[in-house]
Structures are given as C-alpha cells and as structure tokens.
C-alpha cells in the first residue's frame, strides 16, 4: 500500500519531463507524432515501417534483409546513390536505416535549419527509389556476409546465431530464391504511408511540423497491392529448414569453453511482466555461476569454465539446471513491489535521452507500450507465470564456443 503514492509521484514526475506528444494524420494515412523541444537547434525524425506477419513468403527467408540492402544502395529517380550521400554530407544530415523487430526504421538527425532538406531527402528515398536488379547478386552476398559477421567476436557471432529465429534464418538457398518481383511485391506491401509512423522530435513547432510533413511526405501514395497472392515456394525451399536447437560450434581463440542459451521473448507475453523480469532476472544471485542478461529480443544466459576442462555437455546441463530451478522458484511479493517501484522511477531517465523518448512514443503508437494501470495491477502469480513461460526449456536455443562434444547429449533436466 505504501508503494502506491510513491508510484504515482514517480509516474507524474516522469510524464511531466517528457515533451508533450501531439499526433496528426495525413490524408494518405501517414501517422505523425510530434514532440517539441527547443533546447538545441536540432531535429530528429524516425520513420517506422511495419512488416505485418505473413508478408515474407515461405522459403524466402532474408527477404527484408535483402530488400533493406538493395534499397539502401539504390538510386532514386532524382538522385544517384552517390549524389544522395553527397547531399546528406553537404548538409551535415545523418540518415541511417536499420531492420528492427517487426519493421524497418529510418533515423534522421539534422540541424534545424536543414530540416526541409532532410525531410525532402527522406521522402525522395521512400517514394522514388528504383530497385536495381544488377545489384541483386552483390547484395545477396553482402547479406550472407552480414549474417556471418566475420569481424565480430566469437561470442557476438554465437549470440547473433542464437538470437535469430531458426525458421527465419536466411540461407544461401533462400536468398537465391528471391526474385526482383518478390522484392517489388514486398515493397508494395510494406513501403506505404498507411503502414508507416513518423516521429518528429526537436526544434520545430506543431504548425511547422505539419507544413514540413505535408510538403515532403504528403505526395506519398500507396502502391496497389500485388494482385496475385504470395509467391509459391519453390519445391526445394518449400520444406522449412530443420530447426536446430543446438547451433553449430564456433572456435574460441583460447582453450576455454563457453555455453550460451538464448530464451526468445514469447510474443504472447504481456509487456508489463516482461519489463519487470528485465529488471529482476539479471540481478538474480541464485543463478550464479550462470550470468544472465536481457535484451529486446530475449534473455541470454552464459556459463564458462575458463580452462576448457569441463566437457560441453556438463556445462550445458549445469546451465539448464540453474535456469530450471530458478524458473521453479520464481519471485516474492517484495521482489515484485521493488521492481515495480524501480520501473516507475526508471521512466524518468528517458528525459536524458531523446532517442529513448522517441522509442517509447513509437512503442505506444504501435500498441507495444506498457500500460501504467496494468503495471500497477500486476500480480505476483502473473509475474511468475510469465517467468515460467519465458524460461520454458523447450524454447531455449543453446550453443557453445570452444570445447568439444555435443551439448544436448545427456538427458535434459
């Protein structure tokens, strides 16, 4: 009961410090969320394009990645690829594109005097990009290299391998099966104003923002959806690739052995318990010597032996055992109350990070925001049930660096 007033005060303070979000929608369906902040002559923009489930046909794993690569290197009707870079650099505009869970994001950062040009260039990129089929093969190779990440440390590579949904993991075969028509269809389904959300943050007023967006992205119209259905998978690609529970081993420069387990965040879990588990799980001392951290995609547990003396299978078993006993034990009411208070207090930290404010606004616009009412009402049983689901051993993906032998040879605890 004592926690309630504290939570209310913390929530009120955190809300007070954020720039107010004002929303409007263009006639073409583009939703715009505007956050005014005149502290510095700087404007940030984030354009998010949703990829609806089912947009990627079976057997075409890697389609979003290949599309992103091709789109990024393509010319537009008005500007060649090099010219776009030059115009951006001339104006000191930073434009980056990235693939995120459930969609693509374009991030813009510009001095406020360059805001018209910056939005114009983003619009040009979105509306007038010409996909060049001659780049397709080079981009397929670039995608494979990007997936392999030879420049990353072995740990990072293993982590990346485990994080990716096995059934969605692109292969040379699936990338090779993607045709230009697949990419054009994908573009027609995804790059459309009614699937997009634009967030503007910084040194521009609401009326200025409306004018700017209307001028630059007002003419953006959705292409007609492809008449034909999703492409049929080729016979070779039709059968889904086998789902490896155990990732192929990656050599480690030293003689030690490291076992990593990844528990993807279940999509059906409510956000409120997930947020609290993100705070509670990494500090759990009962998991030691297993180290745990959580991220946007899921939870990573790591265990190593330092000298490589322990066989992989025993490290794997110990890791499973610790996770399972922790999962069974769960949390107490005190843990829940403290985590909830910490979560409400942490909201205020967003005021220090403009990008975090935009992240939160986007999540709320996508319906992925945390509801404060539901957070206050969250019960201990709901929290522990979420933990049970998240750490379900059947969902774990496990891999090893160094050492020898299999990981799953013995019976699982």
């Amino acid at each position: 009961m004592k926690a309630a007033p504290v939570l209310l005060v913390a929530a009120a303070i955190s809300l007070q410090a954020q720039p107010r979000v004002q929303a409007f929608t263009l006639p073409n369906g583009l939703r715009v969320l505007h956050m005014e902040d005149h502290e510095h002559p700087l404007v940030r923009a984030r354009l998010f394009l949703r990829i609806e489930p089912g947009t990627v046909p079976p057997g075409r794993q890697g389609l979003p990645l290949l599309f992103q690569g091709l789109f990024d290197h393509a010319e537009t009707a008005d500007l060649k690829a090099g010219e776009l870079d030059r115009t951006l650099d001339d104006s000191g505009i930073q434009l980056t594109q990235s693939a995120e869970p459930g969609g693509f994001s374009w991030r813009l950062l510009a001095r406020s005097r360059e805001q018209d040009r910056a939005m114009g260039l983003l619009a040009d990129r979105l509306m007038r990009t010409i996909l060049d089929p001659s780049l397709l093969q080079a981009q397929r190779l670039a995608c494979l290299r990007q997936l392999d990440q030879p420049w990353e440390s072995p740990q990072a590579r293993l982590r990346q391998t485990l994080t990716m949904e096995p059934a969605a993991r692109p292969t040379a075969g699936s990338l090779g099966a993607i045709t230009l028509q697949d990419l054009l269809d994908f573009r027609a389904r995804v790059v459309r104003p009614d699937r997009a959300i634009l967030i503007l943050h910084g040194d521009l007023g609401l009326e200025q923002a409306k004018r700017l967006v209307l001028l630059s992205l007002g003419p953006w119209t959705a292409q007609p959806l492809p008449a034909r259905g999703l492409p049929r998978p080729s016979p070779a690609a039709a059968a889904p690739p086998p789902v490896p529970q155990e990732a192929p081993p990656i050599p480690l420069p030293d003689s030690g052995t490291l076992v990593l387990a990844f528990a993807p965040r279940p999509e059906d879990l409510a956000l409120e318990p997930v947020e609290l588990l993100n705070l509670l799980v990494p500090g759990q001392t009962s998991l030691l010597p297993v180290r745990v951290e959580t991220g946007e995609d899921g939870l990573v547990a790591a265990l190593d032996d330092g000298d490589g003396a322990s066989p992989r299978v025993s490290l794997g078993s110990l890791l499973h055992e610790r996770l399972e006993s922790f999962r069974r034990k769960g949390f107490t009411q005190t843990d829940l109350d403290r985590a909830r208070a910490a979560w409400f207090a942490r909201r205020s930290l967003d005021s220090l990070h403009p990008e975090a404010q935009m992240d939160r606004t986007l999540a709320e616009a996508l319906g992925r925001g945390v509801d404060e009412g539901r957070m206050k009402a969250l019960t201990l049983s709901a929290l522990n049930a979420a933990l049970q689901i998240w750490l379900d051993p059947a969902r774990l993906r496990i891999g090893a660096l160094g050492g020898s032998g299999g990981l799953l040879a013995g019976p699982r605890p």
Binding site: A10, I13, S14, A17, H38, E39, H40, P41, L42, G82, D85, R86, L88, D89, D90, S91, G92, I93, Q94, L109, A110, R111, S112, R113, P150, W151, S153, P154, D203, P251, L252, P253, D254, G256, L258, L279, L280, V281, G283, Q284, T285, D304, G306, F331, D335, R338, A339, A341, A342, W343, F344, A345, R346, S348, L349, S351, L352, H353, P354, L401
Partner: protein, 554 residues
C-alpha cells in the same frame, strides 16, 4: 520602426539557429576536486559523472589492468555491503576478504607449481575446500535480493568506462535521488570495499582471454614502444591474475584521489542547490598531503617507418598509425579536421575513392588519439580489404590519398561538408547529457581543460585549409608511420614461429627468474617486441635464442 523590428526578428531567428555552447559552471571543492554543473531545466533525471585523471597509462607495471578491474569491481554494481559504516559487519567482511585473498594467492602459486611438476604432491584440493568455505561465509554477508543493486532499485543505472587517460563513471538517476547519489559515491570512495573483487577479476580475465589479441593493440605496441600507451592488456594476464584485493585497494587509494577527480552534473538544478551537498559529501573525501605526479617516458614521433605482419582475426586488414601530438598541441585540431575529411562520412576521400570508386576496401575508418590524447598518440587509418584485393593494393591507395591531401588544395565544398558534419555531431553531443558530460570529462583528462570540448567547434570554424594541409605534411609522414598488416588467422593453428619463440623464451626465463608472474610478464613483453620484426628477423632471433639453451632443452 518596422524595419528595425524585422531586423531584430531576423537576428533573433538566426541566433536561435546558431549552436550555443552549454553554460557550464565550475567550482573547486576544498579537497581539490572540481565540480562542473550544466543546468538543464525540465529534466526529471540527472547525469552524474565522475572522471578520474590517469587511466591505464598511469598504472605501474605490476598493476597493469588495475583500472579496468576497478571499473568492474568498484563501479560495476552498487552493493549495500560495499557501503557499510565502520563496525562489526565491516570488520567481518574485511577479515573474510583478507582470508579469500590469501587462499587465492596460495592456490595460484600451487597451480603454477603443478604446471611445472604435475607429478608432485599437491595442496590444491585442500586450498580449494578452504576457499569454498570462506566464500560460503562471505555469501552470508551479501544481499541476495534480485534488486540488491542500490541504483537499479531506485530506477537508475551506472556504467564505468576506462581509457588510456581516465576512468569515467556515469550514473543516471531520478532527480530526487541526487543527495543519495552524492552520499553513495562518497561512501564508495571512502570505503573502497571491493567485496566482489575475485568475481570481477575472474570476469575480466575471462573476457580478455576470449577476445584474444587485438589488431589495434598490436599497432599501439609497435608504434609507441616503451610507453604505457603501447601496452596490450592481454600480455599482462599473469600479472592481472596475481593482482590481489589489497593491491587493488592500495592502487585505488593512490589513483582515485579528490585532486584528480572531476564531478560533472547535468540536470535540472542550480549551483546553489548542488554545491552544499557535493561539498558535504564528495568534498569531505580526504585529500593527500603530497600530490604525486607520474613520470612517463617521452614518445618521439620520428621513430622511423615500422611494419608488422601478423595473422589475426577474420579479415585482411590494414592498420596504419601516425604518431601525432597530444590534445593540447596547436596542430591537434587540424588533424581532427583532416581525419574528418579523409574518412568522416560516405563522401569522405577514403570511403568514396577506396571503397566505392575503386572497390579496394570494404571498410574505411579513421580515429585520432589512439589510445589516448594526453600524450602523443596515433592517428589511425583502419582499412578492410575487399575480397579479391590485396593489402598491398590498399596500402598503395592509402599512401596516394595522403600524398594528394598534402599536395593538392582542399576544395571549398569538401571543407564546408566536413564542417557541417562536425557541427551536427557537436549539436548532438550538446543535446545528450551523457555525451556532453563525457566530452567535458575527457577534454579535462586528456587536454587538461574542459573548455577544449566547448570551444572545439568554434576553433574548427576558424581553421584554414592551408593549416590542415600543413599539419598533415608535418605529422603524416613515413618516419612517423607504423603499418600493421593483418591476414586472417588460419583456422588450424597460430603462427608456428611465434609458438616456438614463446616456448624458447619461457624456457630461458625459467632458468633466470623464480617468480612465475614476473616470468610470464617478461615473456609477454619479449613476444610483443618480437612481433615488430620481419619473419626473417624472427627466424634469426629464434636461432640465436635457441643457441643459448642446452641441447636437451631445445
């Protein structure tokens, strides 16, 4: 009148468009610590940054890695047991940590002894059992709550960053926790409890081992020989493993002193509010009577053109470093601009010509002040060869770009482009409290003056292309240059010559030095020096070294 109003409005509008430096207020505390405050009205949280001058470069040879270990053991988390007031509990904790230290050291020596003579009778199991028992007792003093970290429980977070010149600790907390932060940090620095020392040390050793040798460290070692800037932490793993809890506490007392500390606050509060609190807490930390200054060897830029070839990593990579002046030097800013022009964006010279037009490289980056900026450091060009192209081709192309830079005038559009990028980056930094605090802290730690960060953009605007070109002629010349050519590691084994050299050096060292940690350190330093030689020279050295061994030991 209308004209006047219009002019006034235009002036105000233009003023609004110009980047304004943050208003930084500075105070000096009684114990010598510096306080900087950047007022940001409207923020509901604050950023509190502690910067300790020194960093890796000031570690004594016997304590290499101590700053990284402090970042992990002292600032990695905020445990309640590390902030115990003097009393029985703290005495118990100290006693147990002392016992743990003794057992860990005995176990380390026992394991080294066993490595030399595996058949000898051993005390290791008994020592391990004693250690386990001490750790169980220690565990009873540790909090087991999943939100035991005091900052996490208040919605905050803390991270520590180590550079060659500084240890920088950034904390973000809700505004109402400001006094708590001051009190906690003062207590942390007063107590220096380091209760999780052994876990932190094991974690750091594990991380270094798994990373393996790094190309950039190889370059620094070859380009800055004999200077702490040239050390590779990985070469000092045995020393790090031998570093004890009490050694680290002693090192912390020497290096985390108030007279070498800057406190930077960014948040919605005034100097009137923060100064009394800071003065009462962090200002009361005892100041040493004598200010100790480390004396470090000089770095001569003209060491001659050096080359190192190695097999490392997963890609063909060319690392070229030129010895450049420290941050306080007048030419430093010109070199900053040169780096921007050469590799500052997709249209910079290296990215445009070597990557896109010629297709020689798949990556091109440039960094100044590697590994630090307090002493002469390096300007490094990092180029990854594209498939089908050799490092020799990439190297020739790089040299011709540098030559072109030195000889041809810099076009104005290119100059303005680089300036625009730097200006945006400067504004972004001003807009993000953490980035601003970091920039101010590093400017002080590296250049001795935090104003360097604030004035940089104005000074860059006042710079002339001819000055940049002249600086490139002076500093980016062959006699200042070190080149590291990295070819991918064969999947099977490491360089056989190097493996043999390590074996011979170890045998030779064992004949002369009894302390294993010292011996390992000597071997590591020897290997680092040998890597600077060509393959032929390495083979000759190997033959000479082998000749010093008795035939049965070869």
């Amino acid at each position: 009148m209308r004209l006047l109003l219009a002019m006034l409005a235009t002036t105000l509008a233009l003023h609004g468009q110009m980047p304004r430096p943050s208003e930084v207020q500075e105070r000096r505390l009684a114990n010598g610590a510096r306080l900087l405050l950047v007022e940001r009205p409207g923020l509901s949280a604050f950023n509190g940054t502690l910067v300790f001058q020194g960093g890796r470069a000031e570690e004594p040879a016997a304590a290499v890695g101590a700053t990284d270990l402090l970042a992990e053991a002292l600032f990695g988390a905020t445990w309640p047991e590390d902030l115990l007031a003097p009393g029985k509990n703290q005495k118990d904790l100290d006693a147990l940590l002392g016992q743990e230290e003794g057992l860990l050291e005995a176990l380390r020596l026992e394991r080294l002894r066993l490595r030399r003579d595996p058949a000898a009778p051993t005390q290791a199991p008994a020592l391990e059992a004693s250690l386990e028992s001490v750790r169980s007792r220690l565990k009873t003093l540790f909090s087991e709550s999943p939100l035991a970290d005091l900052y996490t429980a208040r919605g905050g977070r803390q991270k520590a960053e180590v550079s060659a010149d500084a240890l920088l600790v950034q904390t973000e907390l809700p505004l109402e926790s400001f006094e708590f932060w001051c009190r906690t940090e003062a207590q942390r620095l007063q107590t220096l409890q380091l209760s999780r020392f052994s876990q932190a040390r094991a974690s750091l050793v594990r991380e270094l081992r798994s990373q393996g040798p790094q190309g950039m460290a190889l370059l620094c070692g070859a380009a800055l020989p004999g200077h702490p800037y040239g050390r590779e932490l990985l070469d000092y793993l045995p020393s790090l493993e031998a570093l004890r809890w009490s050694d680290l506490r002693a090192h912390a007392r020497r290096s985390l002193r108030p007279d070498r500390m800057m406190i930077i606050l960014v948040g919605s509060f005034s100097m009137e509010r923060v100064l009394p609190v800071v003065e009462r807490q962090l200002g009361s930390l005892p100041s040493p009577l004598l200010r100790e200054e480390s004396i470090l060897p000089e770095i001569t830029p003209d060491l001659g053109d050096r080359r190192v070839q190695a097999t490392l990593g997963a890609a063909s990579r060319l690392l070229t470093g030129w010895r450049t002046p420290p941050r306080e030097h007048p030419d430093h800013l010109a070199l900053r601009m040169a780096a921007q022009l050469l590799a500052g964006g997709p249209t910079s010279r290296l990215q445009s010509n070597l990557m896109r037009m010629k297709g020689l490289a798949q990556r091109a980056q440039m960094s100044l002040d590697v590994p630090g900026g307090r002493f002469p450091g390096l300007l490094v060009a990092d180029l990854w060869a594209s498939e089908g192209h050799s490092l020799a081709e990439v190297e020739v192309a790089l040299h011709s770009e540098i030559l072109r830079f030195q000889q041809d005038p810099i076009p104005q559009d290119e100059w303005l482009r680089a300036l625009a990028q730097l200006e945006t980056e400067h504004l972004r930094r001003e807009d993000e409290p953490g980035a601003l605090a970091r920039a101010l802290g590093l400017a002080w730690a590296e250049g001795g003056d935090w104003h360097l960060a604030e004035l940089e953009i104005q000074r860059l605007r006042a710079l002339l292309p001819e000055v940049v070109q002249q600086a490139v002629r002076v500093w980016l010349k062959p006699s200042h240059r070190t080149t590291v050519l990295l070819e991918p590691t064969p999947a099977t084994s490491q360089d056989p010559v190097e493996a043999k050299l390590v074996q011979v050096l170890k045998t030779l060292a064992a004949l002369r030095i009894t302390d294993p940690a010292q011996r390992e350190r000597l071997v590591a330093e020897g290997v680092r020096q040998l890597r600077m030689l060509s393959v032929e020279e390495r083979l000759r050295t190997l033959t000479l070294l082998e000749a010093q061994l008795a035939p049965e030991k070869r």
